[in-house]
Amino acid sequence: MEIKLEDLHPAFQGVIPSEIITCSADGEPNATAISQVYYVDSHHVALSFQFFGKTNRNIEENPQVAVMVIHPETGVSYHLDLRFVRRETEGDTFDEMDMQLMAIASMTGMEGVFKLRGADIYEVKAITKIDDWD
């Protein structure tokens, strides 16, 4: 049965950190953790553009990316094949991500330290369910 992105909504709440993998133009994979993948619509997700130097460089060379997310209610992992579309610095998605960052930062007096530089929008090309116990 085809998996719909909207069915994975709970996985995009930042409950459990996700992992992202990119690949440079010369074929070198690079993996790193990310705190949250954000749901944009039924075919798109967003990642916050913050620290990842190598990740950003790879995306510029090769827009094909994969993330692994975990559904916090079932514990099932999903592999998402993504393709970078654009970086947004304003709009609904950016505002929502920015608000979350502001809220967390301000709880520890770090508002202004962490600034959302952009919301990277990705098209979801495929979703693969990794675990099958549900």
Binding site: I21, C23, N62, M68
Partner: protein
């Protein structure tokens, strides 16, 4: 050679992800369930679930490039190991025992995150396969502006 400090970290980490890419540079990522270091501290022995690694093995056999990230909770300390795929094989009985012991760490982590015992058990796989690769580079992956800084290999 992997520095001892990093070897200690490898043994204390609870979360692992292996990454690869295919001939079209499309990346794939899967979870790993325990990591060991060989005697020479040059090769990493990664325990995985074979049923989930079909594409990964294809990729390794195609180009051999491997990226492994290991993470520690709740410190968020993390390192990335890059290198060349050597082989994939069955686990030895010692390795099975080792991995079973290792499982306690992610189980504890999952429960600590608020999940039920049942889910924690279900989530934390028993590995049944091994991926070996030679480490060429190590990077500090701990979140923060310092992420991505290379760790010097020991001589």
């Amino acid at each position: 050679m992997i520095p001892q400090e990093i070897v200690d970290f490898i043994h204390s980490s609870q979360i692992g992800h292996l990454g690869s890419r295919d001939e079209n540079l499309i990346p794939t990522i899967r979870r790993s369930w325990g990591t060991n270091v060989n005697d020479t501290k040059e090769i990493l022995i990664v325990y995985v679930v074979q049923a989930q690694y079909e594409q990964m093995l294809k990729n390794f056999n195609d180009n051999g490039r491997v990226a492994l990230t290991l993470g520690e909770w709740p410190s968020h300390r993390s390192y990335q190991f890059k290198g060349q795929f050597l082989k994939a094989r069955e686990m030895t009985p010692d390795e099975v025992a080792f991995q079973q012991q290792y499982r306690a760490k992610p189980i504890f982590l999952v429960k600590d995150m608020g999940f039920s015992d049942e889910m924690a058990e279900q989530f934390t796989y028993y590995a049944d396969f091994v991926i070996e690769f030679k480490v060429e580079k190590i990077y500090n992956q701990t979140p923060g502006p310092g992420a991505g800084k290379a760790v010097e290999l020991a001589k």
